[in-house]
């Protein structure tokens, strides 16, 4: 496992040396989306809570960052913690509402809450500039390092993404993570063992929202622009699809899933006009041949190959 992790990190570290700016930017987007998908995976894969509103946290953090920069002209050192804090506080409240239900009820409540925000972003034109979105944003320059270049921003994103995924990995492998998986598999049994199932889910909901917000900051830094579509159902659904395609409940799954979705969206669309049809075919292929997702599916096929060899 460690070999895989360090091998992948080493490969990602040298990536800008071997490819052009377009691919470096694409890799930055994959990393941002991977953090977003990994945060959804905390809910879906480890908590058994399918959310269709996780884009709310990405979008709100991005909007808060943009608004604090444009309206108040604050420094990024102040903006980033404020945006994360604001989004996390919002997640505390949203969690109180959404976790009144589980399963489909939870799915619908998360969808409804995110749609409220999406509608607000569209309609509150004086604040968000509606469908035009907020432009003219600047990337941070931590310790005077200019992040406007593709490689510099890529390394910044890689650093944050690696830290975020490591933090999420620690979380799911901790005693608390074990209890979270227990609530996913046998919530009634967990109560009978002395666990406060609702509280475990609420804490996880907030933690997942926090990392969703981190991906939102990276998202707005990358694009230097924010539009209501970042809060949309489509954005939440793409994150959910990335988790399912890569393999929910695995650490590598959302990263692989994010790469699949982003590469198909950005790279294939340059060559194939009907790229979303291709995206559909790929998902059908995954669901039919690897219903558990690409990462567990490949592992299974590899084990079968080894046992036959």
């Amino acid at each position: 496992m460690k070999t895989w992790v360090f091998g992948t990190l080493a490969l990602l570290a040298v990536l800008p040396l071997g490819v052009g700016e377009y691919y470096v930017n694409l890799a930055s987007q994959v990393l941002i989306f991977a953090v977003f998908a990994a945060s959804i995976n905390l809910l879906l894969g480890y908590g058994g809570l399918p959310s269709l509103g996780h884009a709310a946290y990405l979008g709100v953090a991005a909007y808060l960052s943009a608004l604090l920069q444009l309206k108040l002209g604050l420094s990024h050192w102040v903006i980033a913690p404020l945006a994360l804090l604001g989004t996390t506080v919002m997640a505390c409240a949203f969690g109180l509402i959404a976790l009144r239900a589980a399963g489909l009820g939870f799915l619908m409540l998360t969808l409804a809450l995110s749609q409220v925000l999406w509608g607000t972003a569209y309609r509150w034109v004086s604040m968000t500039d509606g469908d035009n979105g907020l432009r003219g944003l600047a990337r941070p320059a931590p310790f005077g390092i200019n992040l406007d270049g593709a490689p510099a921003f890529y390394y910044f994103t890689l650093l944050i993404a690696a830290f975020a995924i490591w933090m999420m990995a620690r979380f799911v492998n901790s005693p608390f993570g074990a209890t979270l998986k227990g609530t996913r598999d046998q919530s009634r049994r967990m109560s009978a063992l002395g666990y406060h199932v609702w509280l475990i889910r609420w804490v996880t909901f907030i933690y997942a929202a926090f990392w969703g917000a981190v991906s939102g900051l990276l998202f707005v830094y990358y694009h230097k622009y924010i539009h209501p579509v970042s809060l949309s159902l489509a954005n939440s659904a793409e994150g959910l699809l990335a988790v399912i395609a890569g393999g929910s409940g695995t650490l590598a799954g959302p990263i692989v899933g994010a790469a699949i979705v982003l590469l198909l969206k950005n790279w294939a669309s340059a060559y194939i006009e009907r790229w979303n049809m291709l995206l559909g075919f790929v998902f059908v292929f995954i669901v039919v041949f690897m219903p558990e997702g690409v990462v567990p599916g490949v592992k299974r096929l590899w084990k079968r190959y080894i046992s036959r060899a």
């Binding site: 005693p175 009634r188 109560s191």
Partner: protein, 243 residues
């Protein structure tokens, strides 16, 4: 001291009373057997005691604390543990992990979201598994062990929490004669400081083990007493033999 005191407990599903009205007291350290025909309300009574179901009326006192409106997990922290009639384990996880989860449930370490599950916890879980004779299977996933072994894991998980009151819901159900003997030994070895309330249909086995017996019928206690008293009571014959 009473381990359990139930006063006028009622529970209906729709218009159908599952627990019509139950009054029951169990002394600390007692071994109580609850019997009754299918549909008598035995498992519903357990679900009310654990808080899996809310009571419509009445009260439940656990070691003199009123727990009627208390959430399930809080009752567990007061010393209540149970097993399920339908085995409820974590099938993908190993036996030792199942028991470790049970141990973790009562410690503050369950909120640790950055460390890892301690080897001491797994060591303790192995000790508990040894008590039910399953230490050699500790690393096996639950899905790969027999039904009887799963029953023993259920009991091990309950015992791991060192409960003051243990509710056993048909622990011998579905077991072979040999497995029944093993599980009976495990139950017989439960220390007397633990009060045991057991639902069981296997009368030959269960009657031997109980200090007192309660007969439940249509959600009411109709007979209560020692084995001899219950067997001699005409109401027991009427319920079980129809005359």
């Amino acid at each position: 001291m009473e381990a359990l005191h139930i006063q006028g407990l009622k529970k209906s599903f729709g218009g159908l009373p599952a627990i019509a009205e139950v009054w029951l007291s169990v002394e600390a350290g007692e071994y109580r057997l609850i019997i009754g025909l299918n549909g008598a309300g035995k498992t519903t009574l357990f679900n009310l005691l654990t808080g899996d179901l809310p009571a419509d009326a009445g009260s439940i006192l656990l070691f003199e604390s009123n727990v009627t409106r208390l959430a399930t997990h809080k009752r567990v922290h007061l010393g209540l543990a149970r097993t399920y009639q339908i085995i409820t384990l974590f099938p993908q996880d190993t036996l030792v992990h199942n028991v470790a989860l049970s141990l973790l449930g009562l410690t503050k370490a369950r909120w640790n979201s950055f460390g890892s599950l301690s080897s001491a916890l797994y060591g303790e879980a192995r000790t508990v598994l040894a008590k039910v004779g399953l230490e050699t299977l500790a690393q096996r996933p639950i899905a790969e062990v027999s039904y009887g072994e799963k029953r023993r894991v259920e009991i091990a998980m309950a015992l791991a929490q060192k409960p003051r009151l243990l509710l056993l819901d048909e622990p011998l159900a579905g077991l072979s004669r040999e497995e029944r003997g093993t599980v009976k030994q495990v139950i017989g070895a439960i220390p007397r400081e633990t009060t045991v309330v057991m639902i069981e249909h296997d009368m030959d086995t269960a009657l031997d083990m109980a200090d007192r017996i309660t007969v439940l019928h249509y959600g009411r206690v109709i007979v209560e007493g020692t084995r001899a008293q219950v067997v001699a009571d005409p109401k027991t014959r009427e319920v079980y033999l129809g005359y």
